[in-house]
Symmetry: C2
Subunit: 241 residues, 2 copies
């Protein structure tokens, strides 16, 4: 689970610049301070999830979350920008995993197909608890999004903030330049929209699917008939090897 937090793994040193050898002591489990901080953070997340599940999102105050871990509410806000932010952390993990899965799809799959297979596989992992994902938390978030507009809203916003990254990935796969070609933008927009709609359909019971992954899969399959642009590999067989 932790490895998904590893900040996309290739950031930090702009390619071509080797880390100064003296600073290689930066192993993740460095000082006691760092470890303590990590423990506090996780305790806060735990506490938040427990209370949210127990009393609902709005009914839970930041002070309660902090008190349960025996820190001040001020400290809570040093770890999270807002009450909603606690939940977004988890979504970041999912998104990171999905990016990896997407990148790993065979190059001859069209984008929407690849996106569907990647996201469905990750979601299933979340639902089943595979991979180190906690299915309890996944379910909790789902429930919170359905019951609390504030949570749903911040999830929408958060998703939109991922837009640029998604666009870049799609453009890469398609082998086009997102500055001149609008298709990657459209794909990212569309997928994001479908994601949230799947959530809503599930919440309102307007779809016979039980699991989120099933609802999403169905929507994306529908979409596939239309907007399914071929990947670069399929479009230009020149680079096929």
């Amino acid at each position: 689970m932790k490895e998904l937090l590893a900040e996309s793994s290739n950031v930090g040193y702009p390619a071509g610049m080797e880390a100064t050898p003296a600073v290689q002591a930066c192993i993740p489990t460095a000082g006691r301070r760092e470890r303590k901080k990590q423990r506090t953070r996780e305790a806060l997340v735990d506490s938040a999830f427990r209370l949210f599940a127990e009393k609902g999102f709005e009914a839970t105050t930041v002070e309660e979350i902090a008190d349960a871990v025996d820190v001040s509410s001020r400290t809570f806000f040093r770890y999270f920008a807002s009450k909603e932010d606690v939940l977004l952390t988890f979504q970041d993990e999912q998104f990171g995993a999905m990016k990896e899965a997407f990148a790993a799809r065979p190059a001859d799959e069209p984008v929407i197909t690849a996106l569907r297979r990647a996201s469905v596989s990750i979601l299933r992992a979340c639902e089943d608890g595979a991979f180190g994902f906690d299915p309890e938390r996944f379910g909790c978030i789902r429930q919170l999004m359905e019951s609390s507009p504030a949570v749903f809203g911040s999830s929408l916003e958060h998703g939109q903030r991922k837009h640029a990254e998604m666009t870049r990935l799609v453009a890469e796969r398609m082998g086009v330049d997102p500055v001149t070609d609008m298709r990657p933008h459209v794909v990212a927009a569309v997928v994001n929209g479908v994601f949230h709609t799947a959530f809503e359909l599930l919440g309102s019971g307007a779809v016979r699917a039980e699991r989120f992954s099933d609802a999403l899969s169905e929507l994306l399959l529908t979409l596939e008939g239309g907007i399914n642009f071929p990947a670069a590999a399929a479009a230009s067989p020149a680079s096929a090897d």
Copy 2:
């Protein structure tokens, strides 16, 4: 402009229940009270837009808005559920107009095409001040959405709340049942996503378009190549007359 606020016009009496004849005195410009309330509301909207444009969204407090109209901040919240809500009012008008325009598109146009033409025509009206729309406010909202995440977020949320309605309209045009056919849902999701992406592209300057309507048009045109389901009229020539 006011007629767009007319609450979709067919709500109020569940079909088959005639209004009690004695209550037909409900002309919109009824009592003095009603008129005064309307004036206060508009004054608040005016005040809010002026201050937002002048000092930005977050920097403007509800108290300032209310003070400028000489009412208490408590009263502000009797008119609007939140600070963001003032802006959403305007978006409702646009959405209403767009629904009308969409419904008025020729029956042989595929959904995305119809959606594109309808929304672009309304947006152009907003931009040009046709139709009673105030282009100044339109521009103001655009700027606020780009600069303030809170505004953008609530717009996202608001858009999602319109989802069900949009789905219904699309399903109607396609002549299918949205319970069994997922396509209308996908269309609604997709269009909503593209809308917000157009906004974002425009804000980040990632598109050469100057006007929002141009950016949206380009994205929807791109989309059209793919997901463009035929309308019911085109699909089943049985009803062609």
